[in-house]
Amino acid sequence: MADQVSLTVDGKKRKVAADPRTPLLYILRDDLELNSPHFGCGLGQCGACTVQIDGKPVRSCVTPASAAEGKTVTTLIGLGTPEHPHPIQAAYIEEQTPQCGYCISGWMMTAAALLKEKPHPTDAEIREALAGLKCRCGTHMAIMRAVKRAAAMNV
């Protein structure tokens, strides 16, 4: 098996011996032990597996690793650090947003991309950007507050 995938994840160049058709989710989790993207549905329906590829949120459970070949992949670890958190991370902590937190890659990665594109979104724009993501614990209102707080940190 000469199969190999090369990607840049959270700022590091990584090479993994794997079939490039493997969904990116399993490469990140099982080979690179980057555990923040979670398996929620494997169907592209919930967002729990979301990472950014070149800054765009994608659902890694239905994205073949080959699609990330030579590109930059970002997980929650690469989004910011405890010392230098991304505004959405700081806001999530400030608002105490997650309960179980299993869903948060979907919401945070998508919100981070939204804030980059539209630093000061309206409520309706936030709702639209985050529509379709799932949170079973019902933290939607806290997510809304966190996104608004993060937007307020955007200067």
Binding site: H38, G42, L43, Q96, Q99, M108, G132, G138
Partner: protein
């Protein structure tokens, strides 16, 4: 207090915490496991609950897990409060069969209520003993001493002092507690100390931030799904396409192309394992199984309520029978009658069940997010025919659970597969397994009648729930029959039929409350087997009872809040109802009086209230109904909540918010559907839930703090009045009465056409 090996074991374990250590040092693990088994924590020993290390760090051992509601912080606050140490010095070890006592697991919103009471007493006793020691050391009577930040000092002479760390020197308390002999939720072991009174609280009642959140937000928090012991295989479970079908033959060659994938079969249980996860998933999808052909076991869920209505009664229980109900109902007055319907619902946790099991000849380790860590150990031991002492069950958080979800089932699958493979196995169910095969919340119908007298009050009230049994598989999964794998392996499922009736405090002179259960929809391993789903029967029962009160108020042309208050004397209940009405600026008038909006968008406001044990909740819901599309948007909520003493108000608000949103999702969107063969709502498209587009805009909260009353739990109660509050708001807005949940667009439009 002498140094003791057990104490150093404690400290060793404390540092161990995350499995990272386990993975990099498997040899050490075995050595530690051996040390652990020689001293299981005993409830009557103070050292089983509280340990203070040589550096003054405090560890509390809590026999329940935190499923993501912030219980860890509440317990830390309680322990730090009673010990008078800084919060950041306290860490909590949770739900581990070798390290904590069995406090029953997550169960009925008892985390703080019962679990916290135990820890409060233990911490107070530890403080008492330490202060006694200090008194000897300093030569000053205990009542002349005070404690702050773990330092005992003489009142008025603060330089005469000694620290906890200096007193205990990393040793044990070696003190006995008076244990009530129980394990589980009701376990209580008390010392001689009197815990603080609420006026002495410094930490309890404040809102420090949760400690799991930074790790979650930065992607480093370990979930059960992230555990990978060396040599671990990935497993997937094979579910039959037709419920009840049994495997006749399995074509192992059909998965030969997936690297090192293997079929594991034991009786009717089939699993597939492979070293790589994607191989396991593909192999499980590809595996050719020939299934037995039999008659279809179920029927179309469209006919569910007729089925329930006509089904024979397995068990009937009259919970309350006051006065002469039938005579009064017949005796004239205004008769109100209605029937309500509630479907099966699924937990559909954010991730399907996932656990890691390592079954070895010399012991079994389970890393699992089941809410009942201890019961899971018992169930798995019996499933595999091994002694329960050989099972080390460790709670590790998973996707949020709201009762008995599929976590235990995945854990049992992992244990069976690991025992067959001889290697650690991580099983994660697929989405269709989670939606399709997790235990379901019970479906039911509710028939309610009342006679309203000339005084405008209910003279008689007759409430009947008829539904499937509430708990086919025990939420305490301590028997193999409580696991899907156990049922597949032939353990007969023999639940005790049970249902329920409303909890409220309406005083009606003639009142009957009864429930009936019907036969299981199918025997054997059923995708519709029931178990507890948040606030077990609260949503369905109170959807009916609190909608009905609104119907009575409408019939009597009374204001629904005033109508409720006219039947309630209990002061705490009145206070909660009044607080919610006040917060919402409730406009008095019969249902329909708060109607607003224009064009195709109308608005209305509804009220509902209930208690769950000692916790009392009232919910006001304002909805917007789009008459063209049938969309109901639960735009605003006001919630009044009384659960005794409030430990952490900010976190409590977030817990309530989650409950109300979850409750709204169930009221508006959620319904398990099935056909003659199996459950058909097996993903997020066929089983929609509330999303950001429909999330409420505002939710105002009134927390009625009662420091004079013990905390009574908040993990579930605010779920129960939500559906009725929304239904009542819909009626207020449109005059259409929703008696079948969920209130989908289609049903809303149909109801509007009739209204």
């Amino acid at each position: 207090m002498n140094a003791h090996t057990a104490a150093s074991r404690r400290q060793l374990l404390q540092g161990m915490g995350a499995l990272v250590v386990l993975i990099s040092a498997p040899a050490e693990v075995l050595a530690q496991t051996a040390k652990i088994t020689d001293g299981l924590p005993h409830p009557a020993e103070l050292d089983s609950w509280i340990a203070i290390a040589a550096d003054g760090k405090v560890t509390a051992f809590f026999g329940k897990p935190d499923v993501g509601l912030g219980v860890e912080m509440a317990i830390a606050q309680i322990v730090a409060e009673e010990l008078d140490v800084p919060l950041d010095r306290v860490s909590i070890v949770m739900a581990d069969t070798k390290r904590t006592c069995d406090q029953g697991g997550v169960s009925g919103s008892t985390g703080v209520q019962l679990g916290g009471a135990m820890l409060r007493g233990a911490a107070a006793e530890a403080r008492r003993l330490l202060v006694e020691q200090a008194s000897v050391k300093l030569g000053v009577a205990t009542d002349k001493l005070e404690v702050r930040d773990g330092v005992v000092s003489v009142i008025g002479a603060p330089r005469k002092k000694v620290t906890y760390a200096q007193l205990i020197k990393g040793g044990r308390f070696d003190a006995k507690l008076d244990w009530n002999g129980k394990t589980g939720n009701t376990l209580l072991a008390t010392g001689k100390a009197k815990p603080k009174t609420p006026d002495q609280y410094r930490l309890v009642g404040t809102s420090p931030k949760r400690r799991d959140i930074p790790g979650k937000v930065h992607g480093t928090y370990p979930y059960a799904a992230d555990y990978r012991p060396p040599g671990m295989l990935h497993g997937r479970t094979i579910q039959p396409p037709v419920a009840g079908a049994k495997p006749v033959s399995v074509d192992e060659a059909s998965i030969a192309r997936f690297s090192r994938a293997k079929v594991l079969r034991k009786g009717d249980f089939i699993g597939v394992v492979a070293p790589r996860e994607w191989d396991a998933i593909q192999a499980a999808r590809t595996l050719k199984v020939t299934w037995s052909q039999g008659p279809s076991p179920l029927f179309d869920s469209e006919t569910l309520y007729d089925h329930i209505r006509k089904a024979p009664v397995v068990k009937r229980e009259v919970v309350q029978n006051l006065g002469a109900v039938d005579e009064t109902l017949k005796g004239g007055g205004l008769l109100v009658e209605a029937e309500y319907e509630w479907p099966f619902q699924t937990h559909a946790s954010m991730g399907p069940g996932c656990a890691v099991a390592d079954v070895r000849p010399d012991g079994i380790t389970l890393w699992n997010p089941s809410q009942k860590t201890f019961a899971t150990a018992q169930g798995v031991a019996k499933l595999l025919g091994r002694p329960v002492e050989s099972v080390h069950s460790i709670y590790v958080q998973g996707p949020g659970s709201y009762g008995r979800n599929d976590a235990g089932d995945a854990c049992a699958d992992a244990a069976v597969m690991s025992s067959l493979a001889g290697k650690p196995v991580r099983v994660q169910w697929m989405r269709a397994d989670g939606h399709g095969w997790d235990p379901k919340g019970a479906a039911s119908i509710h028939e309610v009648r009342a006679a309203i007298g000339a005084d405008g009050k209910m003279a008689a009230y007759d409430y009947l729930s008829k539904g499937v049994n509430r708990m086919d598989v025990n939420t305490f999964e301590q028997d193999p029959q409580d696991f899907l794998a156990g049922q597949r392996l032939g353990f007969p499922n023999t639940p005790t039929p049970n249902f329920g009736t409303p909890e409220d405090s309406y005083v009606v002179p003639n009142r009957r409350m009864a429930w009936e259960t019907i036969p299981k929809l199918m025997e054997g391993a059923s995708p519709l087997r029931t178990s507890h789903l948040r606030d077990p029967l609260g949503p369905q029962i109170h959807f009916a009872s609190e909608s009905f009160i609104d119907e009575c108020a409408a019939a009597a042309k009374a204001d629904p809040v005033a109508f409720r208050l006219a039947h309630i004397q209990a002061p705490r209940h009145r206070a909660v109802i009044e607080a919610a009405a006040k917060a919402a600026n409730w406009k008095a008038g019969p249902p329909g009086a708060r109607r607003g909006g224009s064009g195709s968008t109308v608005t209305g406001t509804g009220f509902a209230y209930a208690n769950r044990g000692q916790t009392i909740v009232a919910v006001v819901s304002e909805v917007e109904v789009d008459k063209t599309t049938g969309r109901v948007w639960p735009r605003r909520f006001w919630v009044a909540h009384e659960c005794g003493l409030v430990i952490n108000p900010d976190n409590l608000k977030l817990v309530i918010e989650g409950n109300v949103v979850h409750g709204a999702s169930r009221a508006l969107f959620e319904e398990v559907k099935f056909d003659a063969d199996n459950v058909t709502t097996t993903d997020w498209i066929s089983y929609p839930i509330l999303g950001m587009e429909d999330a409420p805009e505002t939710m105002e909260m009134v927390l009625l703090n009662r420091p004079d009353l013990p905390p009574s739990g908040a993990g579930e109660p605010s779920t129960r009045p939500v559906a009725a509050a929304i239904a009542n708001a819909i009626y207020d807005a449109t005059g259409a009465r929703m008696r079948r949940a969920p209130f989908t667009r289609q049903r809303m439009k149909a109801a509007l056409a009739k209204a």
